[in-house]
Symmetry: D3
Subunit: 315 residues, 6 copies
């Protein structure tokens, strides 16, 4: 039995050895990338049992993804090696320390063929939490259906659902994205949008109004992440800010949202209050931006103790 299960696409990402246009880059390092698998790893490092469901190609890149997750202790027993499609890959391009481009080779990837039939009802029912993101429904209709199916199984079994918005306008049409993702909010227990994407989704500029709006749609708790300012929590006790931790030097902003989700969900799974869980999310999110790589440097329990601020930071 897992504490949390999630589903989505993980890709092989090729990171350039030097900055500048890719035509001048001669070497690349292979890594793994995937919002949902990042969250699963983050939770596993904090001592939770986490499972990840997806399709990968029946190829070396697929075996790399599955093996990496296994080595981090993730339950990959429901991952399907699909002989009919390739594992998705992407190339990063760093123009300077702030500008980054991405080149995808993921259309028709194995993960985009994930479908409702792939979702194991019992596996979800036996978990204490389901986590989904707004990326998966963007990949294909069958992926969208798989997410809906997973949520349905979870709700039927009383398993709480966490939903990280992750609005990626590069992957699909804005109108369709908004319509699809808005429809998922009432289904989830914990809704974790970023402020900017929340504004795109709703047109609401005030974070307090936005939080109230989302909360009325159904989630038990809404947590809007707003970078250096911290996160705005809205639940039955109303709304309040939870301050972010101070970060001295940002090494890599990518993966901060996933780390936040892992921290928040760890808190929830441990029975913390929403505010305490958001604080834990802040700790992980602010640590994540000091490390390179999307997930490699996420803290384990021992490290977490060194990171956790002693002072109460709720206001």
């Amino acid at each position: 039995m897992n504490d949390i299960v999630t589903l989505g696409e993980s890709m092989v990402v090729f990171d350039p050895s030097s900055t500048g246009p890719l035509r001048h880059v001669s070497e690349f390092k292979k890594h793994m990338a995937g919002a949902e698998s990042n969250v699963a790893i983050g939770l596993a490092r904090l001592g939770h049992r986490a499972g990840w469901l997806s399709r990968v190609g029946d190829d070396e890149f697929g075996r790399y993804i599955t093996g990496t997750l296994k080595s981090e202790g993730i339950d990959v027993s429901r991952v399907i090696a699909d002989a009919g499609a390739s594992t998705g890959v992407m190339f990063k391009e760093r123009r300077n320390n702030r500008l980054m481009n991405v080149y995808y080779y993921r259309s028709n990837s194995a993960a985009s063929r994930l479908c409702s039939e792939d979702v194991d009802k019992e596996w979800i029912r036996a978990s204490r939490m389901l986590h989904v993101t707004g990326i998966t429904p963007a990949l294909s209709d069958s992926c969208h259906a798989a997410v809906c199916q997973a949520i349905r199984y979870a709700r039927e079994a009383g398993v709480p659902v966490s939903f990280d918005l992750n609005l990626r306008l590069k992957l699909w049409d804005a109108d369709k994205a908004c319509e699809t993702l808005l429809a998922l909010i009432p289904e989830c227990t914990y809704f974790l949008p970023g402020y900017s994407e929340g504004r795109l989704l709703t047109g609401i500029a005030s974070i307090e109004d936005m939080a109230r709006y989302f909360h009325r749609m159904g989630p038990e708790a809404v947590v809007i992440k707003d970078g250096k300012k911290g996160a705005y929590l809205y639940d039955r006790d109303g709304g309040r800010w939870i301050e972010a931790c101070r970060v001295e030097e940002v090494a890599d902003p990518i993966g901060a949202g996933d780390a936040f989700a892992a921290g928040f969900l760890s808190g929830v799974l441990k029975g913390q209050s929403h505010a305490e869980a958001v604080m834990l999310g802040n700790v992980l999110g602010s640590y994540a931006v000091t490390i390179k790589g999307d997930w490699e440097g996420l803290p384990d329990l021992t490290e977490l103790e060194c990171l956790y601020p002693v002072e109460d930071t709720v206001r």
Copy 2:
């Protein structure tokens, strides 16, 4: 005006820094690969003006391919940067020094969208030779049409056509491949199959019979490459073997056929006899297997003089 023009797909190839399954490889080097561009570079290094026509993505990988060919002096004025598709990429996997796998991400690549309209009639008519391979028709119907269009323009203008068979059964159905490629043979002036692929195409085991069979289909000269044995030439003077050069240590067999084509066509363009041209093809082919990389180490005119055997090797 070019001495030779050619068309086809070039891809960005990622070469692993170590042998073994790709899941254990952490670094890759970027290179360029493409049968037709290899031939163009080989000819340019021998002092000929060569042009290459294709589509690449309007992306950094496309600019890499175009820029690399420019830096080697190839006329890329007819290359189209296609904003609607990506440049194809592939990953090599070396299990040991002899076994190699290839993972393609080229379906729906920019080059697969090459079509007859892309073929510049005047550019072909103004060239002294057209070179095509059996890879391009395998990529898509529009690619097949583009090859046919290029051949038509060439023949109308009396421009001789060179055709390197390059039967790639991974890319298409065997029956369709044979039908399509057999139909191209009567259109070409110089036909350059390998022995094994020729046998697959015709079912004829005897290299002499095969050469006669191909010659009757129309080409002025047929040259069947047979590895260490050398090449079998069949033209109006009948058939004869042209011995290969001795190679002490094979570093990388890939690119030998393209180097052979470059050498043979260079001889033809310089007005050599068919036998002399095949000898030059042998020199380049046997040199190519001693160098790493598909084309980077192809010889220029100065190096060629050191390589060329003084003795007459025709028998």
Copy 3:
């Protein structure tokens, strides 16, 4: 339930990026090394469930070893992370393509603290085979005791025991080594020495005599590996040679014995005759020397089909 379980030390090995004395080498690559874990991986790739038991340090190198084995599908549920000692490491030195030195930092390593109490009786009883090597008893008295305990549990439960001699005179005194290892032979079902180490152990020069001698000590089958000549099998049907496969180019001889053991034991587990199993051992052993790395390139079932010789090679 595992098909096979094994126990021993795996270390982190640092491979120099260039040949020559280590004082001139500036870069090293991290890998994993361990005779028993090599066998476990080899068997897992051939479709068997394999388990590995050991101690590793409660440190990053220990997590690297455990994670790598997990990612290869090995059951590491009985591995102990020992906070009181470090994971062993070693450095390779390649003077030229044939001479290699090794520098160990393994004395008092976590694995050397393995003891009989660490051996899970039920885990061994539930397996179909136990595999041990002569390296483990050399590491410490408690390691020796652990090997004996494992064998005892296996024999009590009727689980066959495979014993790969692996006489390492660098690790212990020759007299003690011989005495200790000779005492293990009667306990095993399958005994897999190399010819040279067998000669050191027994003083017998004739491979036939040596095999008969070992067989009389108790094992059901004795297989003496003799490099290019192949292996000499001695069982109830007497002794006979099983020819090795031809190897065109040796890339790295290390790991051949472990690959042989994996192949042989796979055959046995699949119910093949001893001779057939030795043939499978030969196939894996000869393939292993063509790949770099101790285990990374071991074949999976798909690759094995390409490697397996069709002809009967028993004589």
Copy 4:
């Protein structure tokens, strides 16, 4: 016909893989360096046709420079491969993030043999702009003569001349440098000194006085670059500051002046006012310091749109 042509030396530069004294550095990366070729590349990326004239050795390093410029679309038809001398090389040494040394191997380089006879009159007359720097006259007397010849041809044909001061006291005697470079100012249309080198040249501390002084010598417009403060423009409309863009993090200050020149000249070539052109120079200069490498990361037209500040920054 080119929009702009330039002449000067480009070298192969070897960049250390780590900081510290070169005796401890074991790896170097090969790049290309040259003030004038940087400007040509910057302009080509912004859509202009640019040509570069020089001598390189008839060696691989010369072919590297010529090929790299070809791949960036520069007209190198007038470059001479000089069999009598080597292409210049240099080694960088980075003591820490701020201190850099340079070791030149360029005396008697091929480029130092550039002479007036190498300057193609028609090629210059057919261009819309000539760009020169104060580095070239420092290399040799014949290089000085070549620069003068190029300016003479340009002026005869009414082609405007841009002159970037680039006072390099390491390369020649200060007195001779000042005398020589001062003599060039009256010949140029656009004069682009830095503030510090301008002060060295004139002894004038006030940037306003300095600009007026230079303007009286003849140039139509004088632009004095002053780092973070921006640039001071002096033309028939008098003098005024054009503010620099804000830079958050400097990655590599080298190449900023060349990028500024490329931006300014692009503006001029597009018919912008001097002030607008200086603004464009500022945009490129401030972007250049955020990227590593002298020219590899210069923006193309698409990127420029993202960089260009919308607000009017002239005051």
Copy 5:
């Protein structure tokens, strides 16, 4: 005759090529590390004759350490290559730009076997200064005895003794450490603790009180280093602060204390006043944090001139 001699352990350190947990790092670079050898190199670069005494393994890592010190001009004539033990090694782990772990493989290293008999009386008597640190007594009892022996020889011959506290609680018990190290203070001429470790040793929070306390124990001069604040000097003229130099960007804080010691001792050896010597210590210490590596980038005399602040910074 040496200007200064020192003794202690130097290890081979393996530096990860990327940040993150070591289990994800695949490449390491070999370096040398050792507090006392750092000081010796720092002094040799400033023109002093320096000697270093230790044991290294009779292995390639030992030869690497000895050879590196020889190449930096250190007198290693008293170094013993010990065939009975290995040279110590350590692995660095960088979690992000601020958090670093270290994994030691140094217990029972060759250097830990250093003993009083290894200390050459005449070599020490012929030197103008002896430098020791608090690390060496932590390594073993025989190491502690060697340090005491060296100090005894020095004092007998009137050779001043410098003592850098270097309290490393990872290496030994805090009580034993404090007792042992406190006993050494009366023996030394120059005592160079850091503020934090001084506080741990004495429990005194006020730097002024602490300095007075240490001075009363016997040393001629006490210099307490306090990072960005500078150093607090206490000698017969009482106590005063010597300001640190401003550092714009810290690249690597490791090695700053050793650089300070080298600078201070160079000043003393050149006959400077204590205050001047501390200023020189500050210059080297603040420069050291701008360079990567523990010692590779330490300045030589030429560089020092560029670094030295002209203004008097004593207050």
Copy 6:
């Protein structure tokens, strides 16, 4: 006092990380190269005290050469750091595994300014052997004079002179080379030409005749190296072949002649007969071709024992 002293140029050599034309190579590794320093290192590793005299630039590359030799135990006390010239550098280019080009940047190098005044008379007189090569006289007239001066000092003091021909026609005119080098033969005690260069020098095809011819010119012993065949020794006992050792796989032929010289001279210094010394030369020469790098892998005394053939190979 040294057992042997030598003089000549050592350069910093940049080795490409991949094969192919240098324009496609992006990374280079720094090494040290020099025939005479190779011999000095070879002898030092075999336990002899060796000294090397030269000029290097007063730059990091010079410090690299001097430091490297120091770390190998060579006496570099007579090396001059020349502030007026740079240390010579060279780039290797490997077209394939057999073809290599070299690009020199050594004209006017510091070493080419070596002159007779640099040669320390007492240092040479105090040595037991002087070793020179035919490279040094090719570098400049002053270098030639320095070699002559060194030989004169040696002969006056009765110090035997070893002369390795090393005819490098790339560095000077063939006629001048022959005249100059022939004039040195009568001055030397041991003359060590290769067969091919000996033939170029004398026009004599028979190795026996050539040896006799050289011997009549004055040397006590002439040893003509002839690759796989071994070496032909001619001394007062007449001429005879000394067989080479068998080499299974050549990794890098460069440095074999220097290794031979080191082995031969070691034998002579140890008082072996000429024939025994040639055998030792053969052992080192044949080992040297199995290692990469010119000198890094030369054996020390321990390794030599493993390499030395037990059987008598003189015939």
